[in-house]
């Protein structure tokens, strides 16, 4: 056992901690961004530090440091205990944790190509090729980006857990901004906000078909400048897998976080309409809606071997055949509601306390082909790739926009439309789903930037979906 971990745990126990855990994390990150043929970001970041979480007098305390000596382990544990003692001044009841199986394990993550073994000049050369493909008159900004990280984490607790885990992440994306001097239009591939991410090596970048799609998004951005705006009114919507990721994230992932539900995030992110009496008792969506939280997928960005409480990764249903049946939880919140811990506690760094985070929140695929979904629409839109998003603090009223849309008339795809937006009330919207595309369209998108908590934590999560069809949705919004 690392000296800093051992001395921190011993000190915490000696000073009265009834529970303590330590996370020691070593991480390397590489980021590259190329804009209009110029390298804007070429950087590596290395960090090493540890955080100590304790329960003393029935209340929580946490402190962290970048100095990983044994002596600092004792100092940090002592401060965490002092903080916990102060927390107990307002205690209403003791913090209690649901019992779990305790593991000692070491999990490495095999990848085909270590992303850090590929020299930066090779990566830049590839991005320059992409940049060239996106070049055309009217394109004002061409962006390509890559991100790689490698983390080694040790989790140890007074309960005897000792888990070492490796995590390797690769991600990339391209984007263009087109302008005619009056407006701008954006197209991204595979997705906006940095592209796609997975727990894979450099092979993931090679699998993404960035070059094959660069000219397409360039031409679509230019075409969007000339197309007519998205129509306004009630109509059917077919939403592509990338926008579905955002829909799942905002209207399923966040409202099923049990800390939100119990008011623990009210200060910042808000609460949730999915209150405990609705569990197993609320028609969240139509019978076609089956949504899982799956941390067991070997490649999904929201997956992991164990969470930051030492709970082994699980796959559970959040919504089954339309009924709301599960929460993302922690050991403490699951104790409060008498549930089984499902392993969703994660911190984004050694210096942050774990909170409940999404894993991979996936809408299970259905049986339809895209053609079948389209053929069932008399008047509607096919839309994809998120551009704007907003949802109320209980996760009911949402309004989202996408980069691109196509009108559907009498079961056939028509012209492209720009600035598509749609809005609704979460459960009414999911109840209107009447068809999901089959597995051939299913994609798990890695989202690297889910923000939550105070202090703010930015977490890697993911969302799997195929195409999905919703009936009678509010489309377009007037603001003038």
């Amino acid at each position: 056992m690392d000296e800093v971990i051992e001395r921190a745990l011993i000190t915490a126990k000696k000073l009265g901690a009834t529970y303590a855990d330590v996370r020691l994390i070593k991480k390397s990150v590489e980021d590259l961004t190329l804009t209009n043929r110029e390298v804007k970001v070429a950087t590596t970041r290395r960090s090493r530090g540890f955080g100590v979480r304790v329960i003393v007098d029935g209340a929580w305390g946490f402190f962290s440091s970048v100095n990983t000596t044994g002596e600092e382990g004792e100092r940090v544990a002592k401060i965490a205990v002092e903080i916990a003692k102060a927390s107990s001044k307002t205690k209403i009841e003791d913090a209690k944790l649901k019992d779990i199986e305790i593991y000692q394990d070491r999990v490495s993550q095999p990848v085909k190509i270590d992303p850090f073994s590929i020299p930066m000049n090779k990566k830049i050369a590839f991005m320059l090729d992409l940049d060239k493909l996106m070049e055309k008159e009217g394109i004002i900004v061409r962006n390509s980006s890559m991100h790689f990280s490698k983390e080694w984490k040790t989790f140890a607790s007074l309960e005897g857990a000792y888990i070492e885990m490796e995590r390797i992440v690769s991600g990339a994306g391209i984007q263009v901004i087109a302008t005619d001097g009056r407006e701008i239009q954006v197209r991204s591939y595979p997705n906006s906000f940095g592209g796609d991410y997975a727990r894979k090596g450099y092979e993931f970048i090679e699998e993404m078909k960035l070059a094959e799609n660069a000219e397409r998004i360039r031409d679509e951005a230019l075409q969007l400048l000339k197309t007519r705006p998205c129509p306004t009114g009630k109509m059917d919507l077919i939403i592509g897998p990338y926008q579905m990721a955002l829909q799942l994230h905002e209207s399923v992932g966040h409202p099923t976080e049990l800390d939100r539900v119990l008011g623990e995030e009210a200060s910042f992110a808000g609460t949730s309409f999915l209150t405990p009496e609705k569990l197993n008792n609320f028609q969240f969506g139509s019978k076609y809606v089956n949504i899982v939280a799956d941390a067991t997928d070997p490649y999904a960005l929201g997956g992991f071997p164990y969470d930051d409480e030492g709970v082994k990764a699980k796959k559970i249903y959040l919504v089954k055949e339309g009924i709301f049946v599960g929460y993302l939880n922690s050991r403490e919140t699951s104790y409060k509601l008498g549930l089984e811990p499902m392993g969703a506690m994660r911190a984004d760094s050694f210096n942050r306390i774990p909170i409940i985070r999404m894993t991979s929140i996936n809408l299970e695929p259905g049986n339809s082909t895209l053609e079948e979904l389209i053929s069932g629409v008399d008047n509607g839109l096919l839309i994809d790739v998120n551009k704007s998003w907003s949802i109320d603090q209980k996760r009911l009223n949402f309004q989202f926009g996408t980069e691109i849309g196509y009108e559907i008339k009498n079961g056939k795809i028509q012209d492209m439309v720009k600035n598509p937006t749609y809005s609704g009330i979460t459960y009414e919207f999911w109840r209107s789903l009447d068809g999901v595309g089959n597995e051939s369209y299913y994609h798990i998108l890695g989202i690297p930037n889910c923000g939550k908590g105070e202090p703010m934590q930015v977490m890697e999560v993911s969302h799997g979906s195929s195409y999905a069809r919703f009936r009678n949705v509010n489309v377009g919004v007037k603001h003038e």
């Binding site: 307002t90 209403i92 701008i184 200060s267 907003s390 919004v477």
Partner: protein, 442 residues
């Protein structure tokens, strides 16, 4: 770490590099956050963290590396990594130079005592006890930090800044309503705890049993919290040289044009008396006052040294830690106050809405700054010059440009709001024809 330790690290880093130009930036300090929810402290955390970034320039090539390990071996390795990355790089033809000495103050220190865990808990206890007394539930944070920045570059820049900031926030919640208050100051002793309690509890109590209203255009009075959230997208879409280049800024092509009425003036100034002060940016450049809009006329934008030198201008002192996707950012945004008393502004509304706070705003149309978001923690109907009843929350979809053109009155007081290192100082605003596009259930 103290000032001498911090400066020693950045000087050491610069001395270890053989690159044409080198910059070392060490950012860190200690911070503590006592978070509370359901009337008790549920998340009480602290950290002491330092992060060293090295930026090197070889010819026209630029690269960077960073580390949290400040041992000699690690600093040396970080410098070597940055230089290796730089050699692999492609020339950046637009890059001119790292920042040059601008004669600004070398050191800025405004540091006050940080409250210990016990003191923070006592202040939280006062808040939750007040909430309990009124049958409400409090959630919020008491966050204190001592932040330090040391910068050294091979062109002669050496800077050190140390400051403290404390923020107290409370959301008081009842069964059908909530109320919000937040206050920040450089010394925690300057925070008026009673005022935070009064504003949040008063809003929650007055907001009980809200009724529905049709989403439509309403005259609004926006509190400083609502104004801050409403304008937040403008800060990263419109107010920098990068925004002008990328075409997202509504100011592009309109400099010198009178776009708004005389009362609209907003600027950035790190040393204004009405902000939480910051003397220089993360490249060590002196923070200058930059007017974005002055008396309704489009004036200027902020920059970092990359854009300044590329465009043949002087740096304005608004760089974020480099490399940064945003480049520059207005860290000390100030909307100039007006002449109206809040009471008079309310009495001037025949029918309208008082908005305590907006939430989850995002741009739908960057160039026209069309923003959507929700109201939160207090929405009230104003009828015949008086606040008459609470209203269930609404979604707005409105252009910042249109709203500023429709501004009728600005209050004679403002509030300093601090979030994540950035400071926004804004007044109450009365705006006509503000568009609400849909409603929610609570």
């Amino acid at each position: 770490m103290n000032k001498e330790n911090m400066l020693e690290v950045v000087n050491k880093a610069v001395s270890l590099s053989k690159a044409d130009q080198v910059e070392a930036l060490l950012v860190g300090g200690e911070s503590y956050l006592t978070g509370f929810a359901n009337n008790y402290i549920h998340r009480n955390v602290g950290e002491e963290t330092y992060d060293l970034s090295i930026r090197v320039v070889i010819g026209k090539k630029v690269a960077s590396a960073s580390t949290t390990d400040l041992s000699y071996e690690s600093i040396k390795s970080c410098v070597d990594t940055a230089e290796t990355l730089c050699k692999f790089q492609k020339d950046n033809e637009e890059f001119v130079s790292l920042p040059k000495e601008d004669g600004g103050e070398k050191y800025f220190e405004e540091v006050y005592e940080l409250p210990d865990a016990e003191t923070r808990a006592e202040i939280v206890k006062k808040i939750v006890n007040a909430s309990k007394k009124h049958g409400l539930i409090s959630s919020g944070k008491f966050e204190v930090e001592r932040s330090q920045i040391a910068i050294k570059n091979s062109l002669g820049i050496e800077r050190y800044e140390e400051r403290t900031v404390a923020t107290l926030k409370n959301i008081a919640m009842g069964d059908t309503s909530s109320g919000f208050s937040q206050e920040s100051a450089m010394s925690f002793k300057d925070i008026n705890v009673d005022k935070v309690i009064e504003e949040s509890l008063d809003t929650a109590l007055k907001g009980r049993s809200p009724s529905s209203i049709e989403p439509s255009k309403y005259e609004v009075i926006l509190s400083p919290y609502a104004v801050t959230e409403f304008l937040s997208s403008m800060k990263y879409l419109s107010l920098t040289e990068k925004n002008i280049e990328e075409g997202t800024s509504f100011m592009k092509g309109h400099f010198g044009e009178k776009m708004f009425n005389d009362m609209i003036t907003f600027y950035d100034d790190g040393l204004d008396n009405n902000t939480i002060k910051m003397a220089f940016d993360f490249e060590g450049m002196k923070k200058k006052r930059v007017y974005f809009v002055k008396n309704g006329v489009i004036e200027n934008v902020v920059n970092d040294s990359f854009y300044a030198y590329k465009l043949g201008k002087e740096p304005t002192g608004h760089s974020l830690p480099q490399p940064s996707e945003l480049g520059a950012y207005p860290m000390n945004f100030i909307f100039e106050k007006g002449k109206s008393k809040l009471e008079d502004m309310i009495s001037n509304v025949e029918k309208g809405l008082f908005v305590q706070r907006f939430w989850y705003t995002n741009p739908m149309d960057p160039v026209n700054l069309v923003i959507t978001g929700m109201t939160r923690d207090g929405l009230f109907l104003i009828e015949n010059g008086k606040i008459t009843r609470p209203i269930k929350h609404l979604r707005f979809t409105e252009s910042i440009i249109t709203a500023l053109k429709n501004c009728l009155e600005i209050s004679d007081n403002f509030k300093i709001i601090y979030e994540g290192g950035a400071v926004t100082t804004v007044p109450y605003m009365r705006i006509k024809d503000f568009n609400f596009s849909s409603a929610t259930e609570f």
